[in-house]
Symmetry: none
């Protein structure tokens, strides 16, 4: 297998520009008349582009595996999603917009209910309202600012969910979950899996004790559970491995966070597709790689709302001419994973993949749909190879060997 070191040794910097459009969760399954969301959408611009592009289908991680957004995105950015296993705590922290450093140990937390004997009776504290969550996080923040020499940062999420970040020297992960996983069991402390995590375990468990003390008169949220307690893995930046100057255009915090993890510049991208296009145009001269994220295809897929998912696909089709007018050397349109509306969740089905450049082998695929991509000259491949393809087509890869 090609290692990162080999890839790094053959990448070269040049002026050619790559635009990678990720339509989150765009791939689907038949929803009506045997047709998928992409097949039902009216997409004249995408159709024309597809007929001039090389098409294919990608597996985000492995055949049959449904990925989360973290590994699915890392893969398409050219990083081995199994090697760079991003903890849930890191993703939740990124998801609420926290910037993480190498000194941070984030954890994903739930407010929960325990009884007098420290038995967990409700792992979600009756799904308390978000407003109550905010109030409790404020109270915790005021009472727990520091443990030993470690700063404690607490941020509310939705309902019973919140995030804690432990910041300071000498923290190592991962720790085991401070969560009995089942109701009716005793509260559980975190444990380090190696000696270097002992300080982390001590700090985290002192935090749990303090939470129990601060919340002792609250009900139902009188304790917390902590999961996915791990640091940000040291990810070599895209500038180093791929010699790119990359920028991210995304509206949701988690995707910005993931982009920052791999060393992209995060551009102020507003809220709408129109805002994102304007950001792309304004910054086009400054970077040679643009990650352009469209979130709502996934959101509507998750809601099982295929009509709205189709509308987002059609909206994307309408803005396509503006992107094409920039005339990028390489344009890729794909999904990170599929989110079929009939499943209302991420799925394991491969992603439609479209690549336009001067050096493609044309194929018989005529639309950007699951079945037309099956006719494509790129065949089935793994998302992690998408980066090599984008670099090759922009002439940013030297020969391997002589």
């Amino acid at each position: 297998m090609l290692t990162e070191d080999i890839i790094k040794s053959i990448t070269v910097k040049n002026e050619n520009k790559i635009i990678l459009i990720i339509m989150d969760g765009v791939g689907g399954l038949p929803v009506k008349d045997g047709k998928t969301e992409l097949e039902l959408a009216n997409t004249p611009n995408l159709d024309e582009l597809a007929s001039e592009s090389a098409l294919g289908l990608t597996y985000p991680i492995a055949i049959g595996i449904t990925p989360g957004s973290g590994p699915a995105h890392l893969s398409i950015f050219g990083y081995d999603p199994i090697k760079y296993n991003i903890g849930r705590g890191v993703l939740e922290a990124l998801g609420i917009g926290l910037e993480l450093t190498q000194h941070d140990l984030p954890a994903r937390a739930n407010f929960a209910t325990k009884d007098k004997n420290n038995i967990i009776t409700d792992r979600r504290a009756g799904r308390i309202p978000t407003e109550k969550n905010k109030e409790l996080c404020k109270k915790l923040s005021e009472n727990i600012k520091q443990i030993e020499d470690i700063e404690v940062i607490i941020r509310p999420g939705k309902e019973h969910r919140f995030v804690v970040v432990f910041r300071g020297e000498g923290l190592e992960g991962p720790l085991t979950d401070a969560d009995p996983q089942k109701e009716g069991l005793k509260i559980k402390y975190a444990e380090s899996v190696s000696p270097s995590g002992e300080k982390s375990a001590r700090i985290v468990n002192k935090f749990i004790d303090k939470v129990n003390e601060v919340l002792k008169d609250e009900h139902p949220a009188n304790t917390c559970l902590l999961r996915g307690i791990d640091k940000v893995p040291p990810v070599p930046p895209m500038s180093e491995i791929f010699k790119l100057t990359p920028a991210a255009i995304a509206t949701y915090p988690m995707y910005k966070g993931l982009s920052r993890l791999v060393g992209m510049e995060i551009l102020q991208s507003g809220e709408s597709l129109k805002d994102e296009i304007n950001t792309l145009k304004e910054n086009y001269e400054k970077y040679d790689f643009f990650y352009f994220h469209i979130k709502k295809t996934d959101s509507y897929g998750e809601d099982g709302n295929f009509e709205e998912k189709i509308k987002i696909i059609e909206e994307t089709d309408k803005i396509l001419p503006e992107i094409l007018s920039l005339n990028p050397d390489v344009l890729v349109i794909t999904g990170d994973h599929s989110t079929p509306a009939v499943l209302s969740s991420h799925s394991w089905h491969p992603n439609p993949f479209l690549l336009k450049s001067k050096y493609i082998r044309p194929d018989e695929g005529k639309r950007f749909t699951e079945n037309e991509c099956l006719k494509g000259s790129l065949g089935h491949f793994y998302s992690i190879n998408a980066m090599s393809l984008m670099l090759a087509h922009s002439l940013k890869l030297k020969k391997f060997g002589a």
Copy 2:
């Protein structure tokens, strides 16, 4: 992944014969009317064969990766091209027809120009004529026959290029390049990357000092740069892993050298396609595996000369009946890598692959072209799997497991 040990444990010797025709760099991109070199060529024999064969497309190394001829060939011979990483020095030595042993440390060399302060002012010594190169190599050979107990072999290449082979006991590679890589920098000595390479570094650097002394009154070629200094990796022969009795029919030195590396017998093959066919016929009874190399498809691709590349494809088509008349049990026709005339270089695009045997699943591909191979029953696969396919179709592989 299947290791060499597993493959070796299931290979069996039998009488069935395999012919592997490598049309170097045969795959292309559209050059005229949206058609590739293979699509434009008039190839009635290949067409007929393709319609009775299993077709597919192969990646030499990995998706998006453009290989050199060394790794591309090793892969199709069934050797992991990343594990058996052949240094530039080895390939250059093979390329000028030098036979290498396990006691040899070859280096690729340039004549260069330095000033009085040992600053490299021209890394190619003004691209001196080949005649001058020969004269200088003769002078060096006469003056530098041995360093310590190590024999020194010097052979001219073209223009400013030559090859040095250090031969003797106790040499280990790789060394760092004795080349500042840029003009305006001081001459650089080679360094060993591990303690076992210390003797090699000492010998190589003494050689550089001697060259500087012998050439001190020459201009512009008054010094040399050495690169790719490494030994031949110990490659287990094809007879051992695949239980084949293999022969190579190739006209260019480098391909003969690569074949010798994997333990093929090198047959005297003359210069022309006709000579190669005669060699094949004369030796057909003596071997069970024939590597038949056609170089010029690549040469004309590198020149950007699609008309001549098409002609070579058509010439190959004309000799095909003679090969078919031998009635091999397995016939494969493919490229090692693509060399599209529009790129005038090797490329990352997958290779058309054709396999004829009694045991194929017929498919809808009707021609030996990039797009017809896309319809093939073999799909996309890696070149390294071609050997297992050839062995399987010649019934030279036992069952794996019970």
